[in-house]
């Protein structure tokens, strides 16, 4: 049962992102996109189409050159560096294709890292992180180093880390890009479960199969949203 979005979580209005000047490269060309609360959106497209740039802009990791970006009604496109960092800490969760786990820290410590920059009290952090690991099915791996885990398990750790911050929006950049088909299926099921619990998910992928699991798909070509279905 897919929840019907009622309020707008993310709103992009004529967003441009341009790199360089001689000649300028327009990675985003006037993108208009509205993502509702609780929606699962897949952005698909070939390499170099601008989908990673779009995700970075939505995730406040990058700043739009022009246009307006709103998160939960707040214009965040032109906020300063510190304010955007605060939004990343409190509103957003990230899952990356290459997992981005700290190799020398245990699974539990990797997850706990999500709260470090939120200024959350340290008391109970270990328990909260263990709870998230339990939620993604890794309750028995808390003391493992990431190097001892399979690719699918590493991605689950990354998902648990993203969830610990209780984000409004989960941004997933090719979450199954480094996984085999079986593991891909389990990760997609995990994302489906999260979506069912009400989390807004924005996922980019170059796989049509993976994209079909999402509630809604948009296609990017040459920095523009070519198709919305």
């Amino acid at each position: 049962m897919i929840a019907i979005p009622t309020t707008t979580e993310v709103q992009l209005t004529d967003v441009w992102r341009t790199f360089g000047e001689d000649p300028p490269i327009h990675a985003l060309r006037g993108v208009d996109l509205s993502i509702g609360a609780g929606e699962w959106l897949a952005i698909v497209g070939p390499s170099g189409s601008g989908k990673s740039t779009l995700l970075n802009v939505i995730g406040c990791l990058d700043r739009p050159t022009a246009g307006r970006l709103e998160l939960r009604g707040q214009d965040v496109g032109q906020l300063d560096d510190g304010d955007r960092a605060n939004i990343r800490a409190r509103e957003l969760g990230f899952v990356f294709q290459s997992f981005h786990l700290l190799a020398h820290r245990t699974v539990l410590e990797n997850v706990m890292l999500a709260e470090v920059y939120r200024g959350e009290p340290r008391r109970g952090r270990r328990e909260r992180a263990a709870e998230e690991l339990q939620r993604v099915g890794l309750g028995g791996r808390v003391d493992y180093l990431p190097t001892r885990l399979s690719g699918g398990e590493r991605q689950r750790v990354a998902v648990a880390r993203a969830l610990l911050g209780r984000p409004h929006v989960l941004l997933a950049d090719e979450p199954t890009g480094n996984l085999d088909s079986v593991t891909t299926g389990s990760i997609m099921q995990l994302l489906a479960d999260l979506h069912a619990s009400g989390i807004t998910i924005v996922m980019i992928t170059h796989s049509e199969t993976v994209a079909r699991a999402a509630q809604r798909q948009v296609t990017m070509v040459d920095g523009t949203l070519a198709e919305v279905c």
Partner: protein, 398 residues
Amino acid sequence: MRAGDLLDESLAGLVTRPGRTALTILGTVIGLGALVATLGLSRTASNRIVGRFDEVAATEIQLTSRPQALGEIDPALPWNGPSLIRRLEGVAAAGNTTAVDTGDALIRTAPVRDPIRQTEFRLAVQAVSPGLFEAIHADVANGRLFDEGHSARGDRVVVLGRTAAARLGIATVSNQPALAIGDDVFSVIGIVEDVTRQHELLASVMIPEGTAAADYRLASPELLLVETDIGATQLIAQMAPLAVRPDAAHVIKVAAPAEQRRVRDNVESDLELLFLFLGGISLLVGAIGIANVTLVSVMERTGEIGLRRALGAHRRHIAVQFLAESATMGTVGGVIGASLGTLVVVGVAAAQQWTPVLDPELPLLAPLVGAVTGLVAGLYPALRAASMEPVDSLRSGT
């Protein structure tokens, strides 16, 4: 970000790469250890030199006769020179010493000539006023020293220096040994074990001044040795000729150590400057090591920096974390370096039988210096880490 989290993250950054951290700390250990050791050794060495200056040279004045002008036959130094100069405030002790010309006379202890072993020796004979023993800090190993009475009466008694006694085969005066200088027989009443000045006296036979004047026709003392209080040397040196010979002060030649204080200060500051320079170079090398490793670490951890930024870290959080890591390495290096440096100072001093001298604040300041060194060394890498854009950092992977 909470302070506890910052500490945890910084320590984790260090302990997860123990080998690298240890090697980086080693640079600071060597730098600060060298700094503490060199400063301590310079202070120890200069203390020893300064001690020597203060104890001996800085408190000694020697009065002798100027070369006499033709026709002047009046002896320059009077016999009562020591008592005259003792009247001056600041004089601790004074005494005469004069080489006695005994001609070809040899010195022997045995009344018979033994054809197998040497029984006669050519030893220096010194006429000494009783006050000299005090001025040279004579340490009596056996028996006693002669006094004014012996000198006034012209008693035939001798005090032997340690080396002279050993050559003559006299170890104790308990059996009332005697020796003969030529045909004159003297009683040995004491053996001097050590002196702080006029070390040649240890190889001499010392007879009372009055005895030498009577038996060897000594005309006047050769040298008047004066020990002053610390700091009084220059003043006593100025007044001494007039005190000894108020009628003809110009015939007295005064040998006083010139500008002792300035010489001492120069030696001390020269040594400290030299060792400070060497220690500073060592510390600089250590700091460059920290900067280098921290910079490499920043480059290697670019992906981690990107991840932390994605999780909400501000630029200042990244900068402070790397600064805290480098400062921690500097502090730990400072503690270990100060400990090793102190051990080196104590070890070298013990081996040389010196008194180890170290400014008490130096081992306490060393960790602080290490922390500051770490902070300064980590500043550029930390700023570089903080200036990275999260998107670019993430692209480089973890």
